[in-house]
Protein backbone atom coordinates (compact mmCIF):
# COMPACT_ATOMS: atom_id res chain seq x y z
CA UNK A 1 0.00 0.00 0.00
CA UNK A 2 2.82 2.32 0.87
CA UNK A 3 4.48 1.37 -2.41
CA UNK A 4 1.38 2.39 -4.36
CA UNK A 5 1.42 5.69 -2.55
CA UNK A 6 5.08 6.26 -3.44
CA UNK A 7 4.49 5.38 -7.08
CA UNK A 8 1.46 7.66 -7.20
CA UNK A 9 3.44 10.49 -5.63
CA UNK A 10 6.31 10.07 -8.13
CA UNK A 11 3.88 9.97 -11.08
CA UNK A 12 2.27 13.15 -9.79
CA UNK A 13 5.68 14.74 -9.44
CA UNK A 14 6.61 13.81 -13.04
CA UNK A 15 3.31 15.10 -14.45
CA UNK A 16 3.59 18.39 -12.56
CA UNK A 17 7.21 18.77 -13.72
CA UNK A 18 6.05 18.28 -17.34
CA UNK A 19 3.23 20.79 -16.74
CA UNK A 20 5.62 23.35 -15.33
CA UNK A 21 8.12 22.90 -18.14
CA UNK A 22 5.40 23.24 -20.79
CA UNK A 23 4.08 26.41 -19.15
CA UNK A 24 7.65 27.71 -19.19
CA UNK A 25 7.94 26.66 -22.84
CA UNK A 26 4.91 28.77 -23.81
CA UNK A 27 6.19 31.67 -21.75
CA UNK A 28 9.69 31.56 -23.22
CA UNK A 29 8.40 31.10 -26.78
CA UNK A 30 6.06 34.07 -26.41
CA UNK A 31 8.78 36.21 -24.85
CA UNK A 32 11.34 35.39 -27.56
CA UNK A 33 8.81 35.93 -30.35
CA UNK A 34 7.84 39.33 -28.87
CA UNK A 35 11.45 40.38 -28.31
CA UNK A 36 12.67 39.36 -31.76
CA UNK A 37 9.74 40.94 -33.61
CA UNK A 38 9.94 44.20 -31.66
CA UNK A 39 13.72 44.56 -31.45
CA UNK A 40 14.93 43.00 -34.70
CA UNK A 41 11.78 42.77 -36.76
CA UNK A 42 12.12 39.08 -37.55
CA UNK A 43 9.71 36.27 -36.80
CA UNK A 44 10.74 32.83 -35.63
CA UNK A 45 11.61 33.59 -32.00
CA UNK A 46 9.03 31.08 -30.79
CA UNK A 47 10.79 28.34 -32.71
CA UNK A 48 14.09 29.17 -31.01
CA UNK A 49 12.47 29.01 -27.58
CA UNK A 50 10.84 25.71 -28.51
CA UNK A 51 14.18 24.31 -29.62
CA UNK A 52 15.67 25.14 -26.23
CA UNK A 53 12.85 23.61 -24.20
CA UNK A 54 11.43 20.84 -26.41
CA UNK A 55 14.63 19.48 -27.92
CA UNK A 56 17.35 20.31 -25.40
CA UNK A 57 15.26 19.78 -22.28
CA UNK A 58 12.41 17.39 -23.03
CA UNK A 59 13.92 15.09 -25.65
CA UNK A 60 17.39 14.98 -24.15
CA UNK A 61 16.19 14.50 -20.54
CA UNK A 62 13.72 11.76 -21.49
CA UNK A 63 16.43 10.06 -23.58
CA UNK A 64 18.88 10.23 -20.68
CA UNK A 65 16.32 8.85 -18.24
CA UNK A 66 15.51 6.09 -20.73
CA UNK A 67 19.06 4.74 -20.44
CA UNK A 68 18.29 3.99 -16.79
CA UNK A 69 14.65 3.05 -17.42
CA UNK A 70 15.72 0.46 -19.96
CA UNK A 71 18.01 -1.23 -17.44
CA UNK A 72 15.43 -1.04 -14.66
CA UNK A 73 12.59 -2.36 -16.83
CA UNK A 74 14.66 -5.19 -18.21
CA UNK A 75 15.64 -6.07 -14.64
CA UNK A 76 12.00 -6.11 -13.62
CA UNK A 77 11.09 -8.33 -16.56
CA UNK A 78 13.92 -10.73 -15.80
CA UNK A 79 13.25 -10.74 -12.04
CA UNK A 80 16.43 -8.88 -11.15
CA UNK A 81 16.93 -5.69 -9.15
CA UNK A 82 18.87 -3.76 -11.75
CA UNK A 83 21.32 -0.88 -11.19
CA UNK A 84 21.33 0.10 -7.51
CA UNK A 85 24.98 0.46 -6.46
CA UNK A 86 25.78 4.11 -7.10
CA UNK A 87 25.13 6.09 -3.93
CA UNK A 88 25.31 9.74 -3.02
CA UNK A 89 27.69 10.20 -0.10
CA UNK A 90 25.56 12.56 1.96
CA UNK A 91 24.02 11.98 5.39
CA UNK A 92 20.63 10.31 5.04
CA UNK A 93 21.21 9.34 1.41
CA UNK A 94 24.08 6.90 2.00
CA UNK A 95 21.82 3.88 2.36
CA UNK A 96 19.36 4.86 -0.35
CA UNK A 97 19.66 3.44 -3.85
CA UNK A 98 17.24 6.16 -5.11
CA UNK A 99 15.96 3.69 -7.74
CA UNK A 100 19.36 3.77 -9.40
CA UNK A 101 19.13 7.42 -10.43
CA UNK A 102 22.76 8.25 -9.45
CA UNK A 103 23.83 5.72 -12.09
CA UNK A 104 22.94 8.25 -14.80
CA UNK A 105 25.48 10.71 -13.40
CA UNK A 106 28.14 8.05 -12.93
CA UNK A 107 27.62 6.80 -16.49
CA UNK A 108 28.07 10.29 -17.91
CA UNK A 109 31.21 10.93 -15.85
CA UNK A 110 32.64 7.56 -16.77
CA UNK A 111 32.10 8.02 -20.50
CA UNK A 112 33.51 11.54 -20.47
CA UNK A 113 36.70 10.51 -18.67
CA UNK A 114 37.45 7.39 -20.71
CA UNK A 115 40.41 7.42 -23.05
CA UNK A 116 39.63 8.74 -26.52
CA UNK A 117 40.86 5.59 -28.21
CA UNK A 118 41.43 5.01 -31.90
CA UNK A 119 42.55 1.67 -33.30
CA UNK A 120 45.70 1.76 -35.41
CA UNK A 121 44.12 0.34 -38.54
CA UNK A 122 41.18 2.76 -38.57
CA UNK A 123 40.78 5.69 -40.90
CA UNK A 124 41.14 8.51 -38.34
CA UNK A 125 38.93 11.15 -39.98
CA UNK A 126 36.02 8.90 -40.88
CA UNK A 127 36.30 7.03 -37.58
CA UNK A 128 35.73 10.29 -35.70
CA UNK A 129 33.08 11.51 -38.13
CA UNK A 130 30.81 8.44 -37.83
CA UNK A 131 29.44 8.96 -34.29
CA UNK A 132 28.70 12.60 -35.13
CA UNK A 133 26.76 11.54 -38.22
CA UNK A 134 24.83 9.06 -36.09
CA UNK A 135 23.90 11.57 -33.40
CA UNK A 136 23.23 14.82 -35.28
CA UNK A 137 20.37 13.57 -37.53
CA UNK A 138 18.69 11.77 -34.62
CA UNK A 139 18.76 14.97 -32.59
CA UNK A 140 17.49 17.17 -35.43
CA UNK A 141 14.51 14.89 -36.16
CA UNK A 142 12.23 16.30 -33.48
CA UNK A 143 12.14 19.77 -35.06
CA UNK A 144 8.74 19.46 -36.76
CA UNK A 145 6.79 17.58 -34.09
CA UNK A 146 4.27 19.82 -32.28
CA UNK A 147 4.00 19.40 -28.50
CA UNK A 148 1.06 21.73 -28.08
CA UNK A 149 -1.51 23.83 -29.97
CA UNK A 150 -0.84 27.26 -31.47
CA UNK A 151 -2.00 29.84 -28.92
CA UNK A 152 -1.74 33.59 -28.38
CA UNK A 153 0.92 34.46 -25.76
CA UNK A 154 1.85 38.08 -25.00
CA UNK A 155 -0.14 39.16 -28.02
CA UNK A 156 1.63 36.92 -30.52
CA UNK A 157 0.52 33.62 -32.03
CA UNK A 158 2.96 31.05 -30.66
CA UNK A 159 3.32 27.62 -32.21
CA UNK A 160 4.62 24.76 -30.07
CA UNK A 161 6.91 23.18 -32.65
CA UNK A 162 10.41 24.27 -33.56
CA UNK A 163 9.53 24.72 -37.22
CA UNK A 164 6.55 24.05 -39.42
CA UNK A 165 7.83 23.90 -42.99
CA UNK A 166 5.47 23.19 -45.84
CA UNK A 167 7.01 19.77 -46.45
CA UNK A 168 6.39 18.56 -42.88
CA UNK A 169 6.89 14.82 -42.68
CA UNK A 170 9.28 14.82 -45.64
CA UNK A 171 11.74 16.53 -43.31
CA UNK A 172 11.67 13.47 -41.08
CA UNK A 173 12.21 11.11 -44.03
CA UNK A 174 15.06 13.25 -45.36
CA UNK A 175 16.92 13.62 -42.07
CA UNK A 176 16.31 10.01 -41.05
CA UNK A 177 17.82 8.85 -44.33
CA UNK A 178 21.04 10.68 -43.41
CA UNK A 179 21.41 8.49 -40.31
CA UNK A 180 22.48 5.60 -42.57
CA UNK A 181 25.91 7.20 -42.99
CA UNK A 182 26.73 7.08 -39.28
CA UNK A 183 26.41 3.32 -39.14
CA UNK A 184 27.93 2.43 -42.49
CA UNK A 185 30.89 4.77 -41.95
CA UNK A 186 31.45 3.42 -38.44
CA UNK A 187 31.56 -0.07 -39.88
CA UNK A 188 33.89 0.79 -42.74
CA UNK A 189 36.26 3.20 -40.99
CA UNK A 190 36.95 0.85 -38.07
CA UNK A 191 38.76 -1.48 -40.47
CA UNK A 192 37.45 -4.44 -38.55
CA UNK A 193 35.68 -7.35 -40.22
CA UNK A 194 32.99 -7.59 -37.57
CA UNK A 195 32.35 -3.87 -37.64
CA UNK A 196 32.12 -3.92 -41.44
CA UNK A 197 29.63 -6.78 -41.29
CA UNK A 198 27.57 -4.86 -38.75
CA UNK A 199 27.75 -1.64 -40.74
CA UNK A 200 26.67 -3.30 -43.99
CA UNK A 201 23.84 -5.12 -42.23
CA UNK A 202 22.74 -1.90 -40.56
CA UNK A 203 22.72 0.25 -43.67
CA UNK A 204 21.02 -2.42 -45.76
CA UNK A 205 18.37 -2.93 -43.10
CA UNK A 206 17.79 0.80 -42.74
CA UNK A 207 17.33 1.45 -46.44
CA UNK A 208 15.05 -1.58 -46.78
CA UNK A 209 12.73 -0.24 -44.10
CA UNK A 210 12.88 3.39 -45.21
CA UNK A 211 10.69 2.48 -48.18
CA UNK A 212 8.03 0.95 -45.94
CA UNK A 213 8.40 3.92 -43.57
CA UNK A 214 7.53 6.35 -46.36
CA UNK A 215 4.66 4.30 -47.75
CA UNK A 216 3.01 3.59 -44.40
CA UNK A 217 2.26 7.25 -43.77
CA UNK A 218 0.79 7.99 -47.22
CA UNK A 219 -2.58 6.68 -46.00
CA UNK A 220 -2.68 9.33 -43.27
CA UNK A 221 -1.58 11.99 -45.76
CA UNK A 222 -4.48 10.98 -48.02
CA UNK A 223 -6.96 11.11 -45.15
CA UNK A 224 -5.99 14.59 -43.99
CA UNK A 225 -4.57 15.89 -47.34
CA UNK A 226 -1.50 17.30 -45.65
CA UNK A 227 2.05 16.33 -44.79
CA UNK A 228 2.39 18.84 -41.97
CA UNK A 229 2.17 17.85 -38.33
CA UNK A 230 1.92 21.30 -36.71
CA UNK A 231 -0.12 24.31 -37.64
CA UNK A 232 -3.88 24.87 -38.04
CA UNK A 233 -4.22 22.30 -40.85
CA UNK A 234 -1.59 19.90 -39.52
CA UNK A 235 -2.35 16.31 -38.61
CA UNK A 236 -2.14 16.92 -34.86
CA UNK A 237 -4.67 19.73 -34.94
CA UNK A 238 -7.11 17.85 -37.19
CA UNK A 239 -7.12 14.89 -34.81
CA UNK A 240 -8.88 17.10 -32.29
CA UNK A 241 -12.05 16.71 -34.40
CA UNK A 242 -14.64 14.00 -33.99
CA UNK A 243 -15.61 11.27 -36.43
CA UNK A 244 -18.80 10.58 -34.53
CA UNK A 245 -20.00 13.09 -31.99
CA UNK A 246 -22.28 11.43 -29.47
CA UNK A 247 -23.46 13.91 -26.90
CA UNK A 248 -22.69 16.98 -24.90
CA UNK A 249 -23.30 16.93 -21.16
CA UNK A 250 -23.15 20.47 -19.86
CA UNK A 251 -20.88 21.47 -22.73
CA UNK A 252 -18.65 18.43 -22.18
CA UNK A 253 -18.19 16.84 -25.61
CA UNK A 254 -17.97 13.08 -26.02
CA UNK A 255 -17.37 11.18 -29.24
CA UNK A 256 -15.05 9.00 -31.23
CA UNK A 257 -12.07 11.21 -32.12
CA UNK A 258 -10.43 11.20 -35.56
CA UNK A 259 -7.24 9.66 -34.23
CA UNK A 260 -4.89 8.16 -36.76
CA UNK A 261 -4.81 4.64 -35.39
CA UNK A 262 -8.59 4.37 -35.85
CA UNK A 263 -8.38 5.61 -39.44
CA UNK A 264 -5.23 3.74 -40.36
CA UNK A 265 -4.56 0.79 -38.05
CA UNK A 266 -2.65 -1.02 -40.76
CA UNK A 267 -0.63 2.10 -41.51
CA UNK A 268 0.16 2.40 -37.81
CA UNK A 269 1.41 -1.18 -37.56
CA UNK A 270 3.50 -0.77 -40.73
CA UNK A 271 4.97 2.51 -39.53
CA UNK A 272 5.71 1.18 -36.06
CA UNK A 273 7.43 -1.92 -37.45
CA UNK A 274 9.43 0.03 -40.03
CA UNK A 275 10.52 2.76 -37.63
CA UNK A 276 11.43 0.18 -35.02
CA UNK A 277 13.73 -1.36 -37.58
CA UNK A 278 15.19 2.09 -38.23
CA UNK A 279 16.15 2.46 -34.57
CA UNK A 280 18.01 -0.89 -34.84
CA UNK A 281 16.70 -2.14 -31.52
CA UNK A 282 15.64 -5.71 -30.79
CA UNK A 283 13.97 -7.58 -32.45
CA UNK A 284 15.71 -5.78 -35.35
CA UNK A 285 19.17 -5.64 -33.75
CA UNK A 286 21.14 -7.84 -36.16
CA UNK A 287 23.52 -4.93 -36.91
CA UNK A 288 24.57 -5.16 -33.26
CA UNK A 289 23.90 -8.79 -32.51
CA UNK A 290 26.02 -8.62 -29.38
CA UNK A 291 26.13 -12.39 -29.06
CA UNK A 292 27.56 -12.83 -32.57
CA UNK A 293 29.29 -9.82 -34.16
CA UNK A 294 29.02 -7.05 -31.51
CA UNK A 295 28.26 -4.60 -34.26
CA UNK A 296 29.39 -1.60 -36.19
CA UNK A 297 30.64 0.14 -33.00
CA UNK A 298 32.87 -2.72 -31.84
CA UNK A 299 35.97 -0.49 -32.01
CA UNK A 300 34.33 2.48 -30.31
CA UNK A 301 34.68 3.26 -26.63
CA UNK A 302 34.05 6.10 -24.23
CA UNK A 303 31.98 9.04 -25.37
CA UNK A 304 32.11 8.07 -29.04
CA UNK A 305 30.26 4.89 -28.21
CA UNK A 306 28.11 7.03 -25.92
CA UNK A 307 27.00 9.12 -28.92
CA UNK A 308 25.81 6.00 -30.75
CA UNK A 309 23.95 4.92 -27.62
CA UNK A 310 22.33 8.27 -26.85
CA UNK A 311 21.37 8.60 -30.55
CA UNK A 312 19.47 5.33 -30.20
CA UNK A 313 17.54 6.60 -27.18
CA UNK A 314 16.87 9.96 -28.81
CA UNK A 315 15.44 8.02 -31.74
CA UNK A 316 13.16 6.15 -29.34
CA UNK A 317 11.80 9.44 -27.95
CA UNK A 318 11.43 11.03 -31.41
CA UNK A 319 9.69 7.93 -32.74
CA UNK A 320 7.25 8.04 -29.81
CA UNK A 321 6.65 11.75 -30.47
CA UNK A 322 6.02 11.22 -34.19
CA UNK A 323 3.65 8.31 -33.54
CA UNK A 324 1.71 10.34 -30.98
CA UNK A 325 1.47 13.30 -33.37
CA UNK A 326 0.26 11.17 -36.29
CA UNK A 327 -1.64 8.26 -34.80
CA UNK A 328 -2.61 9.04 -31.20
CA UNK A 329 -4.20 12.44 -31.38
CA UNK A 330 -1.12 14.58 -30.80
CA UNK A 331 -1.68 16.86 -27.84
CA UNK A 332 -5.45 16.29 -27.67
CA UNK A 333 -7.45 14.26 -25.21
CA UNK A 334 -9.89 11.70 -26.66
CA UNK A 335 -12.85 13.73 -25.34
CA UNK A 336 -13.66 17.02 -23.70
CA UNK A 337 -11.25 19.17 -25.73
CA UNK A 338 -13.87 21.76 -26.65
CA UNK A 339 -15.14 21.85 -23.06
CA UNK A 340 -11.58 22.45 -21.88
CA UNK A 341 -11.04 25.21 -24.42
CA UNK A 342 -14.23 26.99 -23.33
CA UNK A 343 -13.31 27.23 -19.63
CA UNK A 344 -12.90 30.85 -18.53
CA UNK A 345 -9.53 30.28 -16.87
CA UNK A 346 -8.14 28.88 -20.13
CA UNK A 347 -9.76 31.58 -22.26
CA UNK A 348 -8.13 34.25 -20.11
CA UNK A 349 -4.77 32.47 -19.76
CA UNK A 350 -4.18 30.55 -23.00
CA UNK A 351 -0.71 29.43 -21.92
CA UNK A 352 -2.31 27.34 -19.12
CA UNK A 353 -4.39 25.53 -21.76
CA UNK A 354 -1.21 24.98 -23.75
CA UNK A 355 0.53 23.56 -20.69
CA UNK A 356 -2.38 21.14 -20.13
CA UNK A 357 -2.30 19.92 -23.74
CA UNK A 358 1.49 19.77 -23.67
CA UNK A 359 1.33 17.55 -20.59
CA UNK A 360 -1.12 15.27 -22.42
CA UNK A 361 1.37 15.03 -25.31
CA UNK A 362 4.39 14.18 -23.18
CA UNK A 363 2.50 11.65 -21.05
CA UNK A 364 1.51 9.87 -24.27
CA UNK A 365 5.14 10.01 -25.44
CA UNK A 366 6.42 8.49 -22.19
CA UNK A 367 3.83 5.70 -22.40
CA UNK A 368 4.89 4.92 -25.98
CA UNK A 369 8.53 4.90 -24.91
CA UNK A 370 7.56 2.28 -22.35
CA UNK A 371 5.83 0.20 -25.05
CA UNK A 372 9.03 0.32 -27.09
CA UNK A 373 11.13 -0.80 -24.13
CA UNK A 374 8.68 -3.64 -23.47
CA UNK A 375 8.89 -4.78 -27.12
CA UNK A 376 12.67 -4.53 -27.07
CA UNK A 377 12.93 -6.82 -24.03
CA UNK A 378 10.19 -9.27 -25.04
CA UNK A 379 10.96 -10.42 -28.56
CA UNK A 380 13.91 -12.49 -29.73
CA UNK A 381 16.10 -11.25 -32.54
CA UNK A 382 15.07 -11.88 -36.16
CA UNK A 383 17.46 -13.62 -38.51
CA UNK A 384 18.85 -11.37 -41.24
CA UNK A 385 16.93 -13.10 -44.03
CA UNK A 386 13.74 -12.73 -41.98
CA UNK A 387 14.37 -8.99 -41.65
CA UNK A 388 14.81 -8.57 -45.40
CA UNK A 389 11.77 -10.76 -46.10
CA UNK A 390 9.62 -8.76 -43.69
CA UNK A 391 10.74 -5.47 -45.26
CA UNK A 392 10.46 -6.28 -48.95
CA UNK A 393 7.93 -9.09 -49.20
CA UNK A 394 5.45 -8.09 -46.49
CA UNK A 395 5.68 -4.43 -45.46
CA UNK A 396 6.24 -3.01 -48.98
CA UNK A 397 3.36 -4.82 -50.79
CA UNK A 398 1.00 -4.38 -47.83
CA UNK A 399 1.96 -0.71 -47.65
CA UNK A 400 1.17 -0.19 -51.35
CA UNK A 401 -2.12 -2.06 -50.98
CA UNK A 402 -2.99 0.07 -47.95
CA UNK A 403 -2.39 3.29 -49.90
CA UNK A 404 -4.73 2.39 -52.73
CA UNK A 405 -7.46 0.80 -50.58
CA UNK A 406 -7.42 3.89 -48.33
CA UNK A 407 -7.53 6.19 -51.35
CA UNK A 408 -10.51 4.35 -52.85
CA UNK A 409 -12.47 4.40 -49.56
CA UNK A 410 -11.83 8.13 -49.06
CA UNK A 411 -12.84 9.05 -52.63
CA UNK A 412 -15.90 6.84 -52.47
CA UNK A 413 -17.09 8.57 -49.30
CA UNK A 414 -16.31 12.09 -50.51
CA UNK A 415 -19.40 13.93 -51.81
CA UNK A 416 -19.31 15.94 -55.03
CA UNK A 417 -17.59 19.29 -54.72
CA UNK A 418 -16.45 18.70 -51.14
CA UNK A 419 -12.77 18.95 -52.04
CA UNK A 420 -12.80 22.73 -51.66
CA UNK A 421 -14.08 22.64 -48.07
CA UNK A 422 -11.61 23.40 -45.26
CA UNK A 423 -9.77 20.37 -43.92
CA UNK A 424 -11.56 20.31 -40.56
CA UNK A 425 -14.97 20.15 -42.26
CA UNK A 426 -13.94 17.02 -44.17
CA UNK A 427 -13.35 14.90 -41.05
CA UNK A 428 -16.91 13.43 -40.85
CA UNK A 429 -16.45 12.09 -44.41
CA UNK A 430 -13.71 9.82 -43.07
CA UNK A 431 -16.27 7.68 -41.22
CA UNK A 432 -16.18 4.80 -43.78
CA UNK A 433 -12.39 4.78 -43.49
CA UNK A 434 -12.70 4.39 -39.71
CA UNK A 435 -15.16 1.52 -40.21
CA UNK A 436 -12.66 -0.21 -42.51
CA UNK A 437 -10.05 0.45 -39.83
CA UNK A 438 -12.24 -1.07 -37.12
CA UNK A 439 -12.74 -4.16 -39.30
CA UNK A 440 -8.96 -4.42 -39.65
CA UNK A 441 -8.51 -4.16 -35.88
CA UNK A 442 -11.24 -6.79 -35.35
CA UNK A 443 -9.53 -9.17 -37.78
CA UNK A 444 -6.21 -8.77 -35.95
CA UNK A 445 -7.86 -9.32 -32.58
CA UNK A 446 -9.71 -12.39 -33.89
CA UNK A 447 -6.49 -13.82 -35.34
CA UNK A 448 -4.68 -13.17 -32.07
CA UNK A 449 -7.37 -14.85 -29.97
CA UNK A 450 -7.66 -17.88 -32.29
CA UNK A 451 -5.40 -20.63 -30.96
CA UNK A 452 -2.57 -21.41 -33.36
CA UNK A 453 -2.56 -24.80 -35.00
CA UNK A 454 0.85 -24.39 -36.50
CA UNK A 455 3.13 -21.79 -37.94
CA UNK A 456 2.11 -22.81 -41.48
CA UNK A 457 -1.57 -21.94 -41.22
CA UNK A 458 -1.03 -18.79 -39.19
CA UNK A 459 1.04 -17.28 -41.97
CA UNK A 460 -1.14 -18.51 -44.80
CA UNK A 461 -2.89 -15.18 -45.33
CA UNK A 462 -0.89 -13.10 -47.76
CA UNK A 463 -2.75 -9.86 -47.17
CA UNK A 464 -1.00 -9.03 -44.00
CA UNK A 465 -4.00 -8.39 -41.75
CA UNK A 466 -2.57 -10.83 -39.30
CA UNK A 467 0.98 -9.63 -39.66
CA UNK A 468 1.67 -7.26 -36.88
CA UNK A 469 5.27 -6.52 -36.00
CA UNK A 470 4.95 -9.06 -33.24
CA UNK A 471 4.77 -11.95 -35.69
CA UNK A 472 8.00 -13.31 -37.01
CA UNK A 473 7.60 -13.83 -40.76
CA UNK A 474 7.88 -17.43 -41.75
CA UNK A 475 10.70 -18.17 -44.20
CA UNK A 476 9.40 -19.33 -47.53
CA UNK A 477 10.59 -22.90 -47.18
CA UNK A 478 8.59 -23.52 -44.06
CA UNK A 479 8.58 -22.94 -40.37
CA UNK A 480 11.94 -22.43 -38.70
CA UNK A 481 12.42 -21.29 -35.13
CA UNK A 482 13.34 -17.65 -34.73
CA UNK A 483 17.03 -17.00 -34.17
CA UNK A 484 18.53 -17.24 -30.72
CA UNK A 485 17.62 -14.82 -27.98
CA UNK A 486 20.05 -13.04 -25.69
Amino acid sequence: MQRIGVVGFICGLIVSAIFGAMAAAYGLAGFLEKTLVEKLGIQGGAGIGNMLILMLVFVMVIATLLTLAERKWSALMQDRIGPNRARINLPGLRDQSLAGLPHIATDVIKMLTKEDFQPKAANKFLFNLAPMLAFAPAFALFAIVPAGPTLPVLGYQVQMSVANPDFGLLYIFAIASLAVYGTSLAGWASNNKFALLGGVRASSQMISYEVALGLSLVGMMLAFSTVQLAGPTGMSELQGGYLWRFTEVGGFDVGIPAWGFLLQPLGFVLFFAASFAETKRAPFDVPEGESEIIGYFVEYSGMKFGLFMIAEFVEVVVLAGVIVAIFFGGYYLPFGNEWLKAQTVFVEQPWLLGAVFGTVFWVKVVLLCYVQLAIRWTFPRFRYDQIQTLGWKILLPVGLLNVFVTGAVILWALPEGAATLPAAALIPFLQPLAIVGLVEIAVVVALTLTPREGAESAHADGHGHGHTDTHAPAPSHGATPVASSH
Binding site: I42, G47, I48, N50, M51, M55, L112, T113, K114, E115, D116, P119, A121, N128, M132, F135, A136, P137, F139, A140, A163, N164, P165, D166, L170, S190, N191, N192, K193, A195, L196, S204, I207, S208, V211, L215, V218, M221, S225, V227, V298, G302, M303, K304, G306, L307, Q388, W392, L396, P397, V403, F404, G407, I410, L411, A418, A419, T420, P475, S476
Partner: protein, 124 residues
Protein backbone atom coordinates in the same frame (compact mmCIF):
# COMPACT_ATOMS: atom_id res chain seq x y z
CA UNK B 1 1.10 46.17 -47.97
CA UNK B 2 1.53 42.77 -46.38
CA UNK B 3 4.95 41.32 -46.93
CA UNK B 4 5.74 37.66 -46.89
CA UNK B 5 9.09 35.97 -46.63
CA UNK B 6 9.04 32.18 -46.18
CA UNK B 7 12.68 32.14 -45.10
CA UNK B 8 11.93 33.31 -41.54
CA UNK B 9 10.36 29.91 -40.90
CA UNK B 10 13.73 28.30 -41.58
CA UNK B 11 15.61 30.32 -38.98
CA UNK B 12 14.87 27.90 -36.09
CA UNK B 13 15.57 24.96 -38.40
CA UNK B 14 19.00 26.34 -39.27
CA UNK B 15 19.67 26.78 -35.55
CA UNK B 16 18.65 23.17 -34.95
CA UNK B 17 21.24 22.02 -37.49
CA UNK B 18 23.89 24.22 -35.88
CA UNK B 19 23.09 22.94 -32.38
CA UNK B 20 22.93 19.32 -33.54
CA UNK B 21 26.26 19.61 -35.34
CA UNK B 22 27.80 21.56 -32.49
CA UNK B 23 26.76 19.03 -29.87
CA UNK B 24 27.90 16.12 -32.02
CA UNK B 25 31.26 17.84 -32.44
CA UNK B 26 31.73 19.19 -28.91
CA UNK B 27 30.79 16.13 -26.85
CA UNK B 28 33.56 13.82 -28.15
CA UNK B 29 35.98 16.76 -28.12
CA UNK B 30 35.36 17.39 -24.41
CA UNK B 31 35.69 13.67 -23.75
CA UNK B 32 39.01 13.51 -25.59
CA UNK B 33 40.34 16.41 -23.52
CA UNK B 34 39.21 14.91 -20.20
CA UNK B 35 40.30 11.35 -20.86
CA UNK B 36 43.77 9.89 -20.29
CA UNK B 37 46.13 9.02 -23.13
CA UNK B 38 48.11 5.83 -23.14
CA UNK B 39 49.12 4.43 -26.50
CA UNK B 40 50.10 0.82 -26.53
CA UNK B 41 50.85 -1.28 -29.63
CA UNK B 42 48.83 -4.27 -28.42
CA UNK B 43 45.84 -2.15 -27.44
CA UNK B 44 45.64 -0.38 -30.77
CA UNK B 45 45.42 -3.66 -32.68
CA UNK B 46 42.13 -4.39 -34.43
CA UNK B 47 39.85 -6.18 -31.97
CA UNK B 48 38.87 -9.59 -33.25
CA UNK B 49 37.92 -11.52 -30.12
CA UNK B 50 41.54 -11.56 -28.93
CA UNK B 51 42.79 -13.49 -31.95
CA UNK B 52 45.60 -12.27 -34.16
CA UNK B 53 44.02 -10.34 -37.02
CA UNK B 54 44.18 -12.13 -40.34
CA UNK B 55 44.11 -10.05 -43.51
CA UNK B 56 42.43 -6.71 -44.06
CA UNK B 57 38.83 -5.80 -43.38
CA UNK B 58 38.59 -4.19 -46.80
CA UNK B 59 36.75 -7.18 -48.18
CA UNK B 60 34.36 -7.29 -51.08
CA UNK B 61 30.84 -8.16 -50.08
CA UNK B 62 27.81 -9.72 -51.72
CA UNK B 63 26.25 -8.06 -54.76
CA UNK B 64 22.83 -8.55 -53.14
CA UNK B 65 23.37 -5.44 -51.04
CA UNK B 66 23.83 -3.47 -54.26
CA UNK B 67 20.55 -4.78 -55.69
CA UNK B 68 18.79 -3.88 -52.43
CA UNK B 69 20.23 -0.36 -52.61
CA UNK B 70 19.02 0.08 -56.20
CA UNK B 71 15.59 -1.28 -55.31
CA UNK B 72 15.53 1.18 -52.43
CA UNK B 73 16.23 4.14 -54.73
CA UNK B 74 13.47 3.11 -57.12
CA UNK B 75 10.84 2.74 -54.42
CA UNK B 76 12.05 5.85 -52.64
CA UNK B 77 11.47 7.80 -55.85
CA UNK B 78 8.05 6.22 -56.12
CA UNK B 79 7.22 7.30 -52.56
CA UNK B 80 8.42 10.82 -53.43
CA UNK B 81 5.88 10.94 -56.25
CA UNK B 82 3.16 9.79 -53.84
CA UNK B 83 3.53 12.78 -51.49
CA UNK B 84 2.50 15.61 -53.86
CA UNK B 85 -0.35 13.37 -55.00
CA UNK B 86 -1.44 12.75 -51.40
CA UNK B 87 -1.54 16.48 -50.66
CA UNK B 88 -3.72 17.18 -53.72
CA UNK B 89 -5.55 13.88 -53.47
CA UNK B 90 -9.08 15.14 -52.85
CA UNK B 91 -8.83 17.83 -55.54
CA UNK B 92 -7.46 15.42 -58.17
CA UNK B 93 -10.19 12.87 -57.46
CA UNK B 94 -10.64 9.62 -59.35
CA UNK B 95 -8.58 10.86 -62.29
CA UNK B 96 -5.53 11.31 -60.08
CA UNK B 97 -6.26 7.99 -58.43
CA UNK B 98 -6.20 6.19 -61.79
CA UNK B 99 -2.98 7.81 -62.98
CA UNK B 100 -1.26 6.98 -59.70
CA UNK B 101 -2.56 3.39 -59.90
CA UNK B 102 -0.99 3.06 -63.34
CA UNK B 103 2.30 4.44 -62.02
CA UNK B 104 2.29 2.10 -59.04
CA UNK B 105 1.25 -0.88 -61.18
CA UNK B 106 4.41 -0.50 -63.25
CA UNK B 107 6.50 -0.58 -60.12
CA UNK B 108 4.59 -3.55 -58.72
CA UNK B 109 5.56 -5.33 -61.94
CA UNK B 110 9.17 -4.41 -61.12
CA UNK B 111 8.84 -5.76 -57.59
CA UNK B 112 7.26 -8.96 -58.88
CA UNK B 113 10.12 -9.36 -61.38
CA UNK B 114 12.78 -8.94 -58.70
CA UNK B 115 10.88 -11.31 -56.43
CA UNK B 116 10.53 -13.93 -59.18
CA UNK B 117 14.22 -13.70 -60.07
CA UNK B 118 15.13 -14.44 -56.47
CA UNK B 119 16.98 -11.21 -55.72
CA UNK B 120 15.06 -10.96 -52.44
CA UNK B 121 16.11 -14.40 -51.22
CA UNK B 122 18.75 -14.25 -48.51
CA UNK B 123 18.85 -17.86 -47.43
CA UNK B 124 21.21 -19.41 -49.98
Amino acid sequence: METYNPLTGYLPLALVFLVAGGMAFAIPLIASMLGPKSVNPIKSETFECGNVTIGSARQRFAVKFYVVALLFIVFDVEAVFLYPWAVNFKALGWFGYTTMSLFAATLIVALAYVWKKGALEWES
